[in-house]
């Protein structure tokens, strides 16, 4: 693979500049907004050496993505512009390059991969078309040669059956596969610099490890310099040679990875590292609390829950296949207890939550406060459901943008006819104060709040009916770590105060370890392991649980792994043909209520 052979490459690396590939000097980016121009990146300088991995870490709004877009000259037009500074690739200043010449740099010399591989691939073009398109655009290769190059690129990212994959479309691949295709596209032309903007954030942990390892391998082979943009300190520790910590568009600290983690100089870095949930540290709770008390009556329990979605096909729209989202799940939650439901995307954890919240039809039994929901009439069910409230993942999507937050929090009270108008507004004000907002913010609209504040509004809303159980569906996943830590603290405080139980759904093992009393691990719609937090984390018995725990990147460069747990094959699909019900796993008690699926065959 010798990209752009014989072509005069822009910004060639000459011996004079051989030390660094990319050199940014005093870069400032400003964005024009409602209230005039605002600097989102201020006076940033950095150099990227050949074959180096530089991590730019920071929370949302720190300007890390804007830096990446500035390097690519892909700043959102016309609002954002580079107000000063130079970006030198070899001996060329990219900031003064015109669009036509910049196009030759993109892809060929600097490539970029984005967070969400589904949206960055064109859904109507096959993988092959997209791969060869970029190769043909930058080289003088014939279509057949370009195809050959595309196949090589897919093989390089360890995609099996590369030839037949070329004919597939993005939606036919899993998230991890798509991200590998993106990497293949980015690396097909052997760029000098690869910018990866949160490349594994949208992926499951086990897949994340694999993609990171792939990036490392490819870098070793080709000597590509990587700028890795991430908010995840675990990924930083795992990958970076050097780290830049950014905040509010400024560089807070720069240094070798081991130094930053061992001896952070800036206060902000220290706080950031302190806020990172760490697996195995057992922060938050000394002991699983429910070991000593006798099992009290449960606030809610689920017995043999099934949720299946029919897929229709054929001319007559008959049901041909079924998604077996939840297959015979049973658990119960005691008052004042936090049960965490963990697993990777598609394992059915969110569907279980939705069934419990009454959002999807189910079969099986859901018992809330001793009453089986399926036997109740509509009004009774509404009354019982008051005891189960839900906090969603995305606080930006789960609040009606056209309602004032005060009205939103008051709405549950209105619906259930609780309290008079005056009393309502008092109660809402009290709720606002309780979740750490101020009562005079009640007249604002959701968009006027930050992510963490909105999640607090959602919590206030869930609390309004004084429920016995709150389902938190990935409720802190979309938040920055420091905000996440504070929201988790708030949830714990509220539990102590109101004795509410949580069903905490998450893919993040570190967060789960921090908050849960008991943990249930789900895989393909079934629970494969369930027990107290200590049982599951200190003594994981099911291979899938073990792999989940191992796959979490540890925010400690000293504990960097040489190899990640590898997935031998894709996670099987939960979609099955009619009449092919999946095998039901039997759970065995291995001591003290620690349940493990006897048959470990699916993993």
């Amino acid at each position: 693979m010798n990209a752009g052979a014989g072509k005069n490459r822009i910004g060639a690396i000459t011996p004079a500049t051989a030390g660094s590939v990319l050199d940014i000097a005093n870069l400032s980016v400003s964005v024009r907004g409602e209230d005039g121009e605002r600097e989102v990146v201020s006076n940033l300088s950095l150099t990227l050496a050949r074959g180096e991995t530089l991590c730019i870490a920071g929370e949302s709004g720190s300007g890390k993505s804007m830096t990446a877009l500035a390097i690519m000259q892909l700043l959102p037009q016309p609002a954002a512009r580079i107000s000063s500074g130079k970006i030198r690739l070899g001996d060329t200043d990219l900031t003064v390059l015109d669009e036509r010449r910049m196009r030759r740099v993109r892809g060929d010399r600097i490539a970029m991969i984005f967070q969400e591989p589904m949206t960055s691939l064109n859904p109507v073009l096959s993988i092959g078309q997209q791969l060869t398109e970029s190769i043909e655009a930058h080289t003088s290769l014939s279509p057949a040669e370009a195809r050959q190059r595309a196949i090589e690129a897919l093989k390089a990212v360890r995609i099996s059956e590369a030839e037949s994959r070329l004919r597939q479309f993005p939606h036919e691949l899993s998230g991890g596969m798509r991200q590998r295709v993106m990497i293949a596209m980015a690396l097909a032309l052997e760029p000098n610099v690869l910018i990866a903007d949160e490349p594994t954030t949208a992926l499951d942990v086990t897949v994340q490890g694999e993609v990171l390892e792939l990036l490392r391998d490819l870098q070793r082979q080709h000597g590509t310099s990587i700028i890795l943009i991430t908010h995840d300190m675990g990924v930083v520790a795992e990958m970076a040679d050097r780290v830049i910590i950014m905040r509010h568009g400024r560089m807070v600290e720069e240094g070798k990875t081991s130094d930053i983690f061992a001896r952070p100089r800036a206060d902000y870095t220290r706080e950031l590292l302190a806020a990172v949930p760490r697996i195995g540290s057992g922060v938050g709770r000394q002991k699983s609390r429910h070991m000593e008390t006798a099992t009290p009556a449960s606030v809610a329990s689920v017995e043999d829950l099934h949720v299946r979605f029919d897929l229709r096909g054929g001319v007559f729209g008959r049901v041909t296949r079924r998604v077996h989202a939840v297959e015979g799940v049973s658990f119960s939650i005691a008052p004042n207890e936090t049960l965490a439901l963990v697993g990777e995307s598609g394992c059915g954890k969110s569907t279980t939550a939705k069934a419990l919240a009454g959002l999807v039809p189910y079969s099986g039994d859901i018992i809330v406060g001793g009453r089986n929901l399926s036997g109740l009439g509509r009004d009774e069910r509404k009354a019982v459901r008051r005891d189960v409230q839900m906090i969603f993942q995305d606080p930006f999507a789960s609040l009606d943008p056209r309602m004032r937050v005060g009205d939103l929090v008051a709405e549950p009270l209105v619906i259930h006819g609780i309290a008079s108008r005056d009393e309502r507004s008092q109660r809402v004000a009290a709720l606002f104060e309780r979740v750490g907002l101020s009562a005079d913010q009640m007249d604002l609209y959701p968009h006027e709040f930050s992510g963490g504040q909105r999640q607090r509004v959602c919590i206030a809303r869930a609390l309004a009916l004084r429920p016995k159980l709150i389902i938190a569906d990935e409720s802190v996943s979309a938040l920055d770590v420091s905000v996440q830590a504070r929201v988790l603290d708030l949830l714990k405080e509220l539990q102590r105060e109101f004795g509410v139980a949580y069903l905490f759904i998450s893919h993040d093992m570190a967060v789960v370890e921090n908050i849960s009393d008991r943990v249930a691990v789900m895989y393909l719609g079934q629970i494969v392991e369930m027990g107290t937090r200590d049982q599951v984390f200190s003594n994981p018995r099911h291979p899938y649980t073990r792999r989940l725990i191992e796959a979490v990147p540890v925010p400690d460069p000293a504990r960097r792994r040489s190899r990640f747990a590898r997935l031998d094959q894709e996670i099987p699909s939960a979609t099955r043909r009619i009449g092919e019900a999946p095998l039901k796993l039997a759970l065995q008690d291995v001591g003290n209520g620690h349940l493990v699926a006897a048959d470990s065959s699916p993993v």
């Binding site: 949302s60 839900m390 995305d394 789960s398 604002l444 968009h447 905000v483 504070r486």
Partner: protein
């Protein structure tokens, strides 16, 4: 975005906005919206006060309204906007025509919008067999030539202004229903609707408090677009003899009666055309402003 480390709870989320200052007051503060309101007011005044604004009878074919050769007169001091082919004063006809066109443009269009929204929202929110049935019916109506349908309907009923308005409404709701359906079904998938269900909100509450407000921009756009469409559809119907019966004036039928003479007497098409344009534009300006005012996320933006 607030600072990530500084406690997010103390960060003031911008200036606390004043509670809903009257929509009307905010509307008249916008210059373009005010212009729209003024134009609508003028048209309404013209319709109501027509007999007092002009000394002519709209249907009188005046002897001095034509040249010796029998062609219409261009605008002059006596006939401000000229005369039409039959020697009637154009200004007078446009003033009286405003009555017809306002009723068509507002009532017929409003009813069409109402039916369209109702069908679209019902089908989009409830889906299932109700949704399929409603949407298949909408598709059927769409495939059926609107003019043919209008002719059939008009033939069944005795033509009168109100009947014409209803016929137009029955023909025109289809596009609105389609668009509203698509939007409702994507809104119904949004997470905040699920969040409403979990707190126990029933269908009426979700539909009226949480879905309809989000549909307003679309409804407003289709409403303003519908004004010129319906006014012209009325003209087409009267041209075919099934609309408002001549000699009653409407802006549409003035254009239609005179369109063949466009080159010789351009004012005959220009003035009523300008009137339709002004009315549609006026509603568009008001609608645009209303959309921004009612959308809290737009507040503070130009």
């Amino acid at each position: 975005m607030t600072s990530p480390i500084a406690p997010d709870l103390t960060a003031p989320a911008r200036m606390p906005a004043k509670p809903r200052a009257g929509v009307w007051r905010r509307l008249v503060k916008r210059r373009l919206a005010l212009l729209g309101l003024v134009i609508v007011a003028i048209v309404v005044a013209a319709a109501v006060l027509a007999p007092w604004l002009t000394g002519y009878d709209p249907n009188e074919q005046m002897f001095d309204g034509l040249t010796i050769e029998g062609s219409p007169l261009p605008p002059d001091a006596k006939f401000w906007l000229g005369t039409d082919l039959l020697g009637r004063d154009l200004l007078t006809r446009i003033l009286y025509g405003a009555r017809t066109s306002l009723i068509i443009g507002i009532v017929a269009n409003g009813v069409a919008l109402f039916i369209g929204t109702l069908v679209g929202v019902t089908a989009g929110y409830f889906r299932g067999w109700i949704g399929s049935a409603l949407m298949r019916f909408t598709d059927l109506m769409m495939a059926f030539p609107a003019l043919l349908l209008a002719i059939c309907l008009a033939a069944v009923f005795q033509p009168s202004l109100w009947i014409v308005a209803m016929v137009i409404a029955l023909v025109n709701w289809v596009q609105t229903a389609r668009v509203i359906y698509t939007e409702t079904s994507s809104l119904a998938e949004r997470e905040f609707i699920d969040a409403e269900r979990t707190i126990g909100a029933g269908a009426p509450r979700i539909l009226f408090r949480h879905i309809l407000p989000h549909l307003l921009p679309t409804i407003i756009v289709w409403g303003t677009l519908g004004i010129s469409t319906t006014v012209l559809l009325e003209a087409t119907l009267s041209f075919l003899g099934i609309g408002v019966q001549p000699p009653t004036a409407s802006w549409g039928n003035i254009i239609f009666e005179n369109q063949t003479y466009f080159q010789a007497a351009p004012w005959l098409v220009f003035f009523p055309g300008a009137a339709i344009l002004a009315l549609a534009l006026a509603f568009n300006l008001i609608g645009d402003a209303l959309r921004d005012i009612l959308d809290p996320t737009q507040r503070g933006r130009a």
